[in-house]
């Protein structure tokens, strides 16, 4: 099989790189080992929330400029502050054009509310989710927090506890219906996706709206977990029209409805542009000649290799096994590419879960144009993007989605430019 570019990994980085290349008329294939971590999305995309030393970031573009000095190995610092801002804007447009309606600016963070009611700085948030311009102020003084009876992944009491600290009065309402009773026959599977299917039906939306109107009578606004609109994209709008009060969604624990929708929207967009998406396949080996990747072979396609001019490694980090930790080193399993890590395992992590752990910044080593290295030599047509890159702490810095999107668009540009020259 011959393509212009083959991308290994079909998550946020791989898909956005593929979309950008396909938009430019390149023939791309994505090989993905199952569905991606987009399914755990909060409904927001972070760009930069904190500097490595813990300083909060209000203006991510300014924060990225600071990274150039304090963290020169950070993927943002390698790409450059100005380019990052440009790619951030391009990424917002890419998401919107794929049908993921997001708003936000790389010049000013807003705050998303977590499933536990905490305010976290973020860059882009999908329309409908609760955000605030400041972590101290919520857009209402009284709110009704609605939950589905028996739903395992949403905790109104925690949210109310956090909200009350900001002087917001909270009341609770729970929703039930015969269709919800039906899915409760398997109580351990009372998850967002199953519940959202119930609310794809008009009569259940009507019932939900009636229950909300009745329970929220004296409240300024309503909070609902993200359990709306899995197959029917207008469900939230329809519900809002029926409720007649400001209605905000909050993310749930996974699986995440905004995540499922975002993954499907990106996949659709990629395919609509002529991209080929190979789901459920794993790369076994690569044929490399003089620092150029000629082809890769996969489990499903055996003796028929994927050949391409350029290859992009977007296989993610430890969760998706883009990186594998052995007792003494970090391995990139597809190409055996060079990785960055500290050799002494006791320095990989601390004993405190919420610390900034060294292992989080381990990953594939790349040059300034994000080409991979193997035994110290640059691989001429193999680029790395997304969570597998080294040099950043996605959790502590709040930059995971941003690194994926921006490195993807940066590499897409490098590939398109290399074709021109």
């Amino acid at each position: 099989m011959k393509f212009d570019t083959v991308i290994i990994g079909g998550g946020l980085a791989g898909l956005s790189c593929g979309i950008r290349l396909a938009e430019a008329g390149r023939r791309c294939a994505i090989v993905s080992q199952g569905q991606s971590a987009i399914h755990f999305s909060s409904g927001s995309f972070d760009l930069l929330g904190q500097l490595p030393d813990g300083t909060p970031v209000e203006d991510p573009a300014e924060g990225i400029a600071a990274l150039e000095k304090c963290a020169p190995e950070h993927p943002y610092a390698r790409i450059g502050a100005q380019a990052c801002e440009r790619y951030a804007e391009a990424a917002r447009k890419l998401l919107c054009e794929a049908g993921i309606p997001v708003s936000g600016s790389p010049r000013r963070n807003h705050y998303r509310i977590t499933p536990l009611g905490m305010a976290k700085p973020t860059w882009l948030t999908i329309d409908g989710y609760l955000t605030t311009p400041s972590p101290e102020v919520l857009p209402f003084r009284s709110v009704c927090i609605v939950n589905v009876e028996g739903f395992l992944d949403f905790y109104p009491e925690f949210i109310a506890e956090a909200f009350r600290r900001h002087g917001v009065s909270c009341r609770f309402a729970s929703v039930n219906s015969p269709d919800l009773e039906n899915i409760r026959r398997n109580p351990s599977e009372m998850r967002s996706a199953n519940i959202a299917r119930v609310f794809d039906h008009e009569q259940n939306l009507d019932r939900l709206a009636a229950r909300i109107r009745e329970a929220a009578r004296e409240c300024e606004a309503v909070i609902l977990p993200a359990i709306i609109g899995i197959n029917r994209s207008d469900a939230f709008e329809v519900l809002k029209a029926k409720v007649d009060l400001p209605l905000y969604l909050l993310p749930t624990l996974p699986p995440s409805i905004p995540g499922i929708k975002a993954q499907q929207a990106l996949q659709h967009r990629f395919r609509a542009l002529g991209g080929e998406y190979f789901l459920g396949d794993s790369v076994l080996s690569a044929e490399v000649e003089k620092n150029r990747v000629k082809s890769i072979r996969t489990v499903n396609h055996g003796d028929i290799p994927f050949e391409a001019e350029a290859f992009v490694l977007a296989s993610g980090s430890f969760f998706s096994r883009g990186l594998i930790a052995t007792p003494d080193r970090i391995v990139e399993p597809v190409f055996g590419a060079d990785t960055d890590f500290v050799p002494n395992r006791t320095e990989w992590y601390t004993e405190h879960f919420f610390d900034r752990h060294n292992y989080e910044a381990f990953g594939i080593r790349t040059d300034r144009s994000l080409k991979l290295l193997k035994e110290g030599s640059v691989m001429e047509n193999l680029y790395g993007i997304g969570a597998g890159l080294s040099g950043f702490h996605p959790v502590q810095e709040g930059c995971g989605a941003g690194v994926s999107l921006i490195s993807a668009l940066f590499v897409a540009d490098r590939i398109l430019n290399s074709l021109k020259s």
Partner: protein
């Protein structure tokens, strides 16, 4: 006590991190609340079953064995295999229902029906007959039966094709499957025509039995294994003795021979597995990788084709080859439908208790087909074809039938 002996199973179940993505993509869990979904039925339930077989949940019978959970799993857990293996190990061991026997014994029923095809086809199309089958055998009266051919593919082949096929310089073996043999010999003839155009003769296997997919899903495991052993012996003779590759036209037969034999029937096939493949992939390799050329008619009318990816095709990841072959045909415009289960799952959708689930699963696909503007649907699975033709207004054909009909 060796704790590991009791906590480790095949099929990677300890890799499950409980992310629930599999359940999101399960076609059954989406419409049938009695089915707990692949995470609960597979890796979660397996932990309990390893502890005590009594934890076996009879709701596992609702699993279609579509393997879409495995395609979606980010951790490579063989969820579908865990569920099927649990049914084999812990489920009902004797299956005495007449209905399941009739539905899964495709060779026996096919051999009896083909000589009497005109009578059988007329009879099973009659409402009173269907009502009786519904009442007596619990085969849903709304289900339209596939027509039987008057005479089998193999009889035709031996009488009219064998000698001529032997004359080609290159040869390939063909696992035709029950559908081509008893229902649609034309597809076998189409394959011969295409292979002949490329200079290949097509040979039958020494002995071919139904691949056994229906026997496995109906709990007739011993018979499935006996048939699988016959097939593997014939395939080994073809590959090792006669030096032939083995090609097929059904995605499910291919998947069963290659993957279900070792995973579910414990029948090793590693030595020949790579030599068993779908004809569309074989043709793709000949044309795209080895430069073989097919000549097409220039005058054929334009045709809009919507390709449907069968579940086992999705699992093998091979729909690309069928779609690319269709794209090579002048005048054919191909759109690819979202990959989703059509709901029939072989014999599943024939059963009275599954009919509503089966149609509900297929509903989004049927809607997409109706809205596609296509002249016809193409797919590599015969039971998907039956379901699509019964449930939509469009005809459904095998990609190779479309290709053969446009050869110069």
């Amino acid at each position: 006590m060796n704790i590991q002996q009791n906590t480790v199973s095949e099929n990677n179940f300890e890799q499950c991190i409980k992310c629930t993505i599999c359940t999101v993509y399960c076609p059954v869990a989406a419409v049938n609340p009695d089915y707990p979904g692949p995470k609960q039925a597979g890796p979660d339930g397996e932990r309990l079953r390893l502890k005590k077989p009594d934890f076996y949940d009879s709701a596992l019978k609702y699993c279609l064995n579509c393997k879409r959970c495995e395609v979606a799993c980010p951790s490579n857990v063989r969820i579908g295999d865990i569920i099927q293996a649990a049914r084999i190990k812990y489920g009902p061991q004797r299956n005495t229902s007449l209905r399941n026997f009739v539905l899964s014994n495709t060779d026996l029923v096919g051999s009896l029906a083909t000589p009497l095809a005109p009578i059988v086809n007329t009879a099973v199309a009659l409402k009173p007959v269907r009502m009786v089958m519904d009442k007596v055998m619990a085969i849903d009266h709304r289900r339209i039966f596939p027509k039987y051919a008057h005479g089998t593919f193999t009889t035709w082949y031996r009488k009219h094709a064998a000698a001529q096929q032997a004359a080609y310089p290159k040869q390939v073996a063909y696992f035709h499957g029950c559908y081509v043999n008893y229902n649609n010999p034309q597809l076998g003839k189409d394959l011969l025509r295409i292979m002949n155009a490329l200079g290949y003769g097509v040979q039958l296997l020494d002995k071919e039995k139904c691949c056994g997919v229906a026997l496995i899903s109906n709990g007739l495991y011993k018979q499935a294994k006996r048939q699988a052993e016959v097939n593997m012996a014939s395939i080994r003779t073809a590959v090792n003795g006669r030096r032939l590759d083995v090609i097929t036209t059904s995605s499910t037969c291919t998947f069963t021979l290659r993957d279900e034999y070792p995973h579910l029937l414990q029948l090793e096939n590693e030595d020949v597995r790579d030599r068993i493949e779908l004809a569309t992939r074989y043709l793709y390799r000949l044309i795209r990788e080895n430069g073989a050329k097919l000549k097409f008619r220039e005058d054929a009318a334009p045709l809009r084709v919507a390709y449907h990816t069968p579940c086992h095709m999705e699992k093998m990841g091979w729909e690309y080859y069928s779609i690319e072959l269709l794209r090579m045909i002048p005048g054919v415009e191909v759109t690819v439908l979202d990959s989703q289960c059509c709901g029939i799952a072989g014999t599943y959708g024939f059963k009275k208790e599954n009919y509503a689930t089966s149609q509900a699963i297929g509903e989004p696909l049927f809607r997409q087909i109706e809205a596609s503007g296509a002249d016809l649907v193409a797919t590599d699975c015969e039971t998907c074809k039956w379901q699509i033709e019964m449930s939509t207004s469009k005809p459904c054909e095998h990609p190779l039938h479309i290709l053969a009909s446009r050869l110069a």
